[in-house]
Amino acid sequence: MSSDIILKVENVGKQYRLGLVGTGTISHDLNRWWKKTLGKEDPYLKVGESNNRSEKGISDYVWAIKNINFEVKRGEVLGIIGKNGAGKSTLLKILSRVTGPSVGEIKTKGRIASLLEVGTGFHPEMTGRENIYLNGAILGMTKAEINSKIDEIIEFSGCLRYVDTPVKRYSSGMKVRLAFAVAAHLEPDILVVDEVLAVGDAEFQKKAIGKMQDISNSDGRTVLFVSHNMAAVKSLCTRCVVLENGKSVFEGETDAAVDFYLNNSGSNSSTYTGSIQFNKDEIGNQQVALVEVKSFDNNERVRSTFFNNEDISISIKVNVKESIKNSRFALIMETLNGEKVFVSASNEITKGDITKGLYTFSVVIPKNLLNNIEYNVFVSGAIPGKNYFFKPYKCFSVKIEDSKSKGYNFNEKWHGTVHPQLKWSLKT
């Protein structure tokens, strides 16, 4: 079904030169120009390294993105995810024609409108209404189009009272609302959106995501969406591309892509260890230091993957260096998206004095409580209202699998952060 493909990215790469632009740059430019005049290839396109920000490189040239290939079908919402500096914005800039690629081609069958930032070109001295026209036109609407939508836009922004007041009198939230309202009423074939949803209050964010969903669902428009908000990506996108250091490392279903991204984006990729040891006083203060945290099953075997019908035990070993009172140690579970699942604390057993020495807390997460997803395990220790021994520290991740998937051939996904087994009954 090649006719369905609305956008095709072929072998796109973008090279940047590091350092300052100065007299040294002109010699490179002249060299490049000379080679070009002779009909040769650009000599500097051959050099260059992949873009790993934290390592020192040899070459002055880096490839912000390289060898990017993907296709987008009409009506699809493609998510582009990746860490900072992975090349997302560069890719979007090329897609929205703000800058050209160094190599490769992008072919499109539709008009692309980009929303790399809301409120581009807003002039503070002009009124809201005037800015709607100007901003709309910058984004590619004609005056007639804006005329037909102006009431809708004002209504959506919720700034009716201020619409004839200069924008410089607006609160920053109002500016964003007005700007997003204009952008949301664009009708391009392909809409490129970069993290614009991370603004405005909760109500407005909800409205914005809803509008985005409308755009893709009911209007059948193609959307390219870049965000760090995995919840938004999951609720909007049908497919995702994961970028890492300028290269496309994964392409596929949203859930799989988000999992891939999250699993590979931790500071160390092997977070599924089931146990973690700390050097002396690495985590902690002069009162208490963390020694070891483990997750294990009923047979005392250290594991990182559990079935949902198994108890999960977590042990927290601490070194108490001076006697403490009224302390509290806590186990915190989060989803990989950073949503808190629960906090469980040791209040009852740590009210009294604890003298110097090594202690091990054990806490059991009962079976049939967690959902079939992955969780990050945090521990913290403190004297409530006074000070922390150690702030919530991410120890490792655990993965829960559906025990039924062993017998049956499917692994059923449930919504929500937990999936407790509750008692159901049926009466007539």
Binding site: G100, G104, I106, T108, K109, I112, S114, E125, M126
Partner: protein, 290 residues
């Protein structure tokens, strides 16, 4: 494999064609052009007391000073029966339009970095809008010129030798040439300053120097008589030709040479086309180097 060649609306690629103009696209963005013009006009004098009066004050005072310095002090003759003030006003009005077009477009990329870095639209819309909004300013100043013209002719006897010539009907062509030249030079300069900023320093005093070389405050014939060895500098300066032509049209002094005007048209067109090509080449990647 597909047998039919797929139809793509457009292709974004690394290849830079020399002339790659999508006039259809520019036409589609015409509303944007006028909204930019509107923005420029309504925001320029916001929160000023005199507002658009500033459009008038600047040329009037400059003409006054010029008259004082160049005519009364330095004794540059403007011709018999031609009031000095009117002569200067004519020169300054035309020069201003060219200057505003040149200066206004010469920092297109730098000034609009924020917008250009976020949204695509045909970049050439931006300098075009500058030229159009300056046209309005020019129109107002022209009205003032006509006002003084009528005053001098009807209410004083100083302007006994002032007659507009029939060639005044070609004034729109003259304005078009000024716009073309200013826009072309501005686009060249703005493109060349994206990477190396050196030219921005040149433009600041370059424009000032150019004014002295453009027959703004003296008639070309006077220059020829005084400094015949350097006359070629002025003789082939397209701006000087335009300004001299304007004075011929409006005041009936100086010589309007159709060949020179033709020469100016060709030069303006060439500069404009060069500007367009360079601008077009720059707009694709300037955001990386600015």
């Amino acid at each position: 494999m597909k047998t039919t060649e797929e139809h793509w609306l457009y292709v974004i690629s690394s290849n830079k064609k020399l002339i790659d103009f999508n006039f259809k696209e520019i036409w589609r963005y015409k509303d944007l052009l006028f909204l930019f013009v509107k923005r420029d006009i309504i925001t320029l004098y916001k929160q000023t007391v005199l507002g658009p009066l500033w459009y008038l004050i600047q040329p009037l005072f400059t003409s006054l000073i010029f008259t004082l310095i160049f005519n009364n002090l330095a004794d540059i003759p403007t011709g018999d029966g031609v009031p000095n003030f009117l002569f200067n006003l004519a020169g300054i009005t035309s020069w201003n339009y060219f200057k505003e077009c040149l200066v206004g477009t010469s920092d297109t990329f730098k000034k609009n970095e924020n917008i250009f870095g976020k949204v695509y639209f045909p970049r050439v819309i931006m300098p075009m809008s500058v030229v159009v909004s300056n046209l309005l300013k020019y129109g107002i100043q022209l009205v003032v010129f006509v006002g003084f013209y009528i005053y001098y002719v009807s209410f004083t006897d100083k302007a006994f030798n002032v007659f507009p010539t029939f060639s005044i009907i070609t004034l729109p062509v003259l304005i078009f040439l000024m716009a073309l030249l200013g826009l072309g030079l501005g686009m060249i300069i703005s493109s060349m300053t994206t990477k190396y900023r050196d030219l921005t320093f040149l433009i600041q005093f370059g424009v000032q120097l150019l004014m002295y070389g453009s027959a703004v405050m003296y008639p070309m014939s006077y220059f020829k008589g005084k400094l015949p060895n350097y006359y070629w500098l002025i003789e082939w300066n397209p701006i000087a030709i335009i300004i001299e032509s304007f004075r011929t049209m409006a005041l009936g002094i100086g010589d309007l040479d159709m060949y020179k005007l033709l020469y100016t048209s060709i030069v303006s067109l060439i500069i404009f086309l060069i500007g367009l090509v360079i601008f077009n080449k720059t707009e694709k990647s300037f955001i990386d180097t600015i």
